[in-house]
Amino acid sequence: MPEDLGLSLVVLGAALSALGLLQQNLTPLLALGLAVLTAGLLITWEPATRERLLVKLGEAAWENVSAFIQAAGIPPKAYYFPSAIAGRPVAVVAVEKPGEIPRGALTFRTGNGPALVLSTPGGKAVELCRELPNDLAEALRECAINSLGLARSVSVVDSPDGTVVEYRGVSTPDLYNKLLVKPALGSALASITAAIAAEVWGRPVEIIEEAAKGKRLTVLIR
């Protein structure tokens, strides 16, 4: 939206400047045109610049989480738990799916080794969206598309391997794509998908596979 406003101002500013240059008795309009053009350029670039800055600053936290997973020696694989089981929407990185999560724990032990309880982009999205419909497709549309504006459309198809969620027109910021957190939690939108699915289904969910192609993202969850 601010980008659209910015582009409109750039066009308006250019038109006013041209009018000021071409129409001799309206030359002072050039000052207004240049001011509108400058404002338009800054408004167009500002959101992307701020977003890049915030993502970069937040990258420190994801680097620490990656180091933590690596130090714990756990394979990067997360299970998304709903708030009904864990008290809040979380992901547990563990060798195998844990049966239950001790309330308030940040780490705990399973039969096969340590497990890390992590807050995820998906968990935060669920907190932002609050009330979710009971149907997964509707919940994803309501939260990821209408509320958060992370993609243009979403479709959900059941398959023998799990549930395939396909997004089109994805515009999600790249939070941690080069870090170990990516294979553990999935991309930001895959994490949001898994967390919402866990909330809607009321059971743990794992991301089996995800594939991005241009502005299209396919996530297989189970």
């Binding site: 000021g20 240059l21 001799q24 008795n25 309206l26 030359t27 002072p28 309009l29 050039l30 000052a31 207004l32 240049l34 001011a35 509108v36 400058t38 404002a39 350029l41 800054l42 408004i43 670039w45 500002e46 610049t49 701020r50 800055l53």
Partner: protein
Amino acid sequence: MKLPLVALVVVSGASAAYLIYLGVKSLDIVVSLYTYIHWVMAYFLHPLPKPLSRIYTAIGIALLAAFSYFLALRILPLL
């Protein structure tokens, strides 16, 4: 950032309206005045993130170049 940008547009608009009222048709006066407004507003707009700051400074430098050109055109006949 919003308030200084609105101020930039409002001050420029008011100046343009006043210059039109005075019947000013000279490009060098308009460019010089806007260059002055642009650089005064730079003080209120800062701090800007680096790419935005570069855009604003680049526009300012272009305006200063135009201002210098018009200034040179005025001074040369006197020399």
